[in-house]
């Protein structure tokens, strides 16, 4: 299908690109550490309960996949090298990727760290047609990040995402609007957006296995069986999707969570991890120039039962001390009512706002001093690394 790369996107109603990095975390690790190149690499937790965040293509050959327990992945590929994730590093590469995309259009919608939609409809006159832009993006990503990506070029988001996946890794796939339905017809419905294992099984039960099967169905009958989702799937089967590429200027939330190798049985120990998370959340808020109005603490027990406790903050804040206080209060209120050993603890800041910040009347002195402390620690971290400075009592203080 790469032959399509000679097609022009001129005259399409919209030209949408889906850019997807190839085995992102694993590729970053292989780039940064030559010893890992050409070898099966699993990025993820090493412990008993570790999960694979990304598997290099060498590891995928053995059946290793992301979201698989590390133990299971190692059973499939015993000689795989497990690497601890370095999210700060991935985030920096992700920022660089998004910056490259923004050179081609202001309409960039990041889906995750390694994936984004770009609407280049308005850029074609100035920067060449969609296929040329896709080629430029792939060239720049290779030159500036030393990484590869796959790009799908299509008249809408759904088909673009489908296209980028067809020739992975390091592919460029164009799916033009003309003849689209016929091109999609042989594809399995598992490739359809919003069709997970459960939905797929339901579709199979009624004899629908490919996009073509759905295209041939009577629309009303299909919708009466599958409801609102059915309506959506029917449109998608022809490659019709009119959702716009939207600029997500603000993340919905910023959070951290951690699963422990063994359930933690001491409340104070859990609290130490939680406060370190709250501190990291505050640092990320400041870096993104966001402030939170809500804080949520999530606690999971050995039996996987999960609870969460939320509080609304008096005013939008990115201050370490305020977020730590709020997290501590929530945790202690829960722990006082009967502590149970904890398998996972997490801390999420939500209700994020950006822009000018309202000053308070009654905590002026404290807030100015604390802001200075936060600013100084941020600078020290930026210069000497994450482990260089932090609140006393962090569980990772010695690293």
């Amino acid at each position: 299908m790469t032959g399509d790369a000679t097609t022009s996107t001129r005259g399409w109603p919209r030209t949408i690109l889906h850019v997807d990095m190839d085995a992102f975390y694993a590729s970053v690790e292989q780039r940064d550490n030559p010893e890992l190149r050409g070898k099966p690499v699993l990025v993820g937790g090493r412990g008993r309960r570790g999960v694979v965040g990304a598997a290099s293509y060498e590891a995928r050959r053995f059946g290793c996949r992301s979201a698989m327990p590390t133990g299971q992945a190692l059973a499939l590929c015993p000689h795989a090298i497990v690497v601890r994730p370095r999210f700060e590093r991935y985030r920096a590469d992700s920022d660089a990727l998004m910056a490259i995309l923004e050179r081609f259009s202001p309409l960039v919608q990041p889906i995750s760290l390694d994936e984004a939609f770009v609407d280049v409809t308005g850029s074609e006159r100035l920067l060449g047609d969609g296929v040329a832009i896709a080629r430029d993006i792939r060239r720049l990503v290779r030159a500036e990040l030393s990484l590869t990506c796959s790009v799908g070029v299509a008249p809408n988001k759904f088909v673009a995402k489908l296209a980028s996946d067809l020739e992975k890794p390091d592919g460029l796939t164009v799916l033009p609007p003309v003849g689209l339905a016929a091109r999609l017809a042989p594809l399995a419905l598992e490739r359809m957006w919003g069709v997970g294992p459960v939905a797929a099984e339901a579709l199979h039960r009624f004899g629908f296995r490919t996009f073509g099967d759905v295209q041939r169905a009577n629309r009303d009958d299909f919708v009466s069986i599958f409801g609102d989702s059915g309506e959506h799937w029917y449109e998608l089967s022809f490659g019709r999707d009119d959702r716009p590429v939207t600029i997500e200027r603000t993340a919905a939330s910023v959070g951290h969570e951690q699963t422990f190798g063994e359930d933690l049985r001491v409340a104070a120990e859990v609290e130490r991890h939680l406060l370190a998370q709250a501190e990291d959340v505050a640092i990320r808020l400041r870096r993104k120039e966001l402030k939170a109005t809500r804080l949520t603490v999530k606690i999971r027990f050995g039996d996987f039962k999960t609870i969460s406790r939320s509080t609304t903050l008096d005013s939008a804040t990115d201050r370490t001390d305020v977020l730590c206080d709020a997290a501590r209060k929530l945790f202690r209120a829960w722990a006082a009512n009967g502590f149970r050993p904890v398998r996972l603890i997490g801390c999420t800041a939500g209700g994020l706002v950006e822009g000018p910040s309202q000053l308070g009347l009654f905590d002026v002195d404290r807030s100015e001093k604390q802001r200075a402390v936060d600013h100084a620690t941020d600078l020290i971290r930026a210069k000497f690394g994450k482990g260089s400075i932090g609140r006393a009592g962090r569980p990772d203080a010695d690293e």
Partner: protein, 372 residues
């Protein structure tokens, strides 16, 4: 209990009393209004156990004295939907209320009057101060808007009442702005009264009781209750409220003692300018920039992805160096709505220090800026 009353007068009293009735309650008696018909007078009471109100109903003719406890919701609907000029209410010993109009008969199942918790009577011996409904209403109007819904550190979900001699002031804050309104008592107890914090809901209800500015008002304290009597003699209405516990923030400390910039505006012109600048702000960028100069104030705002605004206002008088400062326009509009003087004065010191808005000698508003 059996009586005939003017429907409009009854409807007004029901609306007032119902503003206290809790919307969700498991205690049936609390969702009811209590009727007491005695000595030719009908009084309607309601309580949510925090706030209680008793209000008289005008134009009633009582044929059988007695008490009744009638569900507020249905009674209100019946009286509001009726087109009769008078309605008769007859409650039998089994607590069934029969409400009759010209062409209608409603039966509502009431409750045993003794189940009603009651409303604290006005303790005439514990009067703190007396004033007029006009004065108290004005103080409430000028402060109530600045209260907070909830705050983890301070008790600011109410208004602070502070009396020193015959001078009384109400203070409200949400932690970002502060309103202080001052007034005079017609009579006051000896010395200074201990400060107390009155819940926002109680002041909202009280505001409705203060509709006639000439009504005399007496305010009393008993235990942790504040009890207000509006009107005189048998026609007086009473509101009793529990006080907010907890500490009010140190508000005196944040009222700036000095300033080096002082601007005078026509209140109407400033209101119009802020209202227009507010158009191009959004949830995320709740700030307008105010650039003060010798002859003009330039307000500007920007809403990402929407657009920008710039409005120029003539300054009547400016003392000091030019300065730029950001404010949440809502906080400025809120105060401009409640001041009734033709001129407003803004005093400033620095872009990160509170601004002060004054109207006359009896109102001060302190507002923290936004950092732009």
């Amino acid at each position: 209990m059996k009586l005939v009353c003017d429907r409009i007068a009854l409807s007004d009293a029901l609306a007032l009393a119902s503003s206290v009735v809790p919307t969700r309650t498991t205690a049936a008696a609390l969702s009811c209004l209590k009727f007491v018909a005695r000595d030719g007078l009908l009084t309607i009471s309601a309580t949510d156990t925090e706030i209680g109100i008793s209000t008289p109903v005008a134009s009633v003719s009582i044929s059988d004295e007695g008490e009744a406890l009638i569900p507020a919701d249905k009674l209100n609907q019946i009286v509001r939907a009726s087109e009769d000029s008078t309605l008769s209410i007859d409650v039998n010993a089994k607590n069934v209320a029969v409400i009759k109009g010209q062409d209608s008969t409603f039966k509502i199942f009431g409750h045993e009057p003794r189940e009603f918790p009651g409303v604290q009577a006005f303790p005439a011996s514990k009067i703190e101060f007396e004033t007029t409904a006009g004065m108290l209403g004005r103080l409430i109007h000028r402060t109530l808007f600045a209260t907070a819904v909830d705050n983890s550190r301070y008790a600011i979900n109410g208004v602070l009442v502070d009396r020193k001699g015959k001078k009384v002031r109400l203070v409200a804050t949400d932690g970002r702005r502060l309103a202080v309104a001052k007034g005079e008592c017609t009579r006051a107890g000896d010395g200074d009264a201990p400060q107390c914090i009155v819940p926002t809901k109680a002041l909202n209800v009280l505001g409705k009781l203060l509709s006639d500015p000439d009504d005399p008002v007496a305010v009393a304290r008993q235990d942790n209750l504040l009890i207000v009597r509006v009107g005189e003699g048998a026609d007086a209405a009473t509101l009793a409220t529990r006080l907010v516990e907890g500490s009010f923030p140190p508000f005196e400390d944040v009222i700036p003692k000095e300033h080096d910039k002082r601007v005078t505006f026509d209140a109407g012109e400033l209101t119009s300018a802020v209202r227009r600048a507010e158009i191009l702000t959004n949830e995320e960028s709740k700030g307008i920039r105010m650039a003060f100069g010798a002859t003009q104030l330039v307000l500007s705002s920007r809403a990402p992805e929407l657009g920008e605004a710039e409005i120029t206002v003539d300054v009547e008088k400016y003392e000091g160096e030019p300065m730029e400062i950001g404010f949440n326009p809502k906080f400025i509009m809120d105060v401009l709505k409640v001041i009734d003087s033709p001129q407003v004065i803004i005093e400033l010191k620095a872009p990160n220090k509170p601004g002060v808005i004054k109207a006359g000698n009896d109102f001060t508003y302190v507002v923290m800026p936004v950092s732009l």
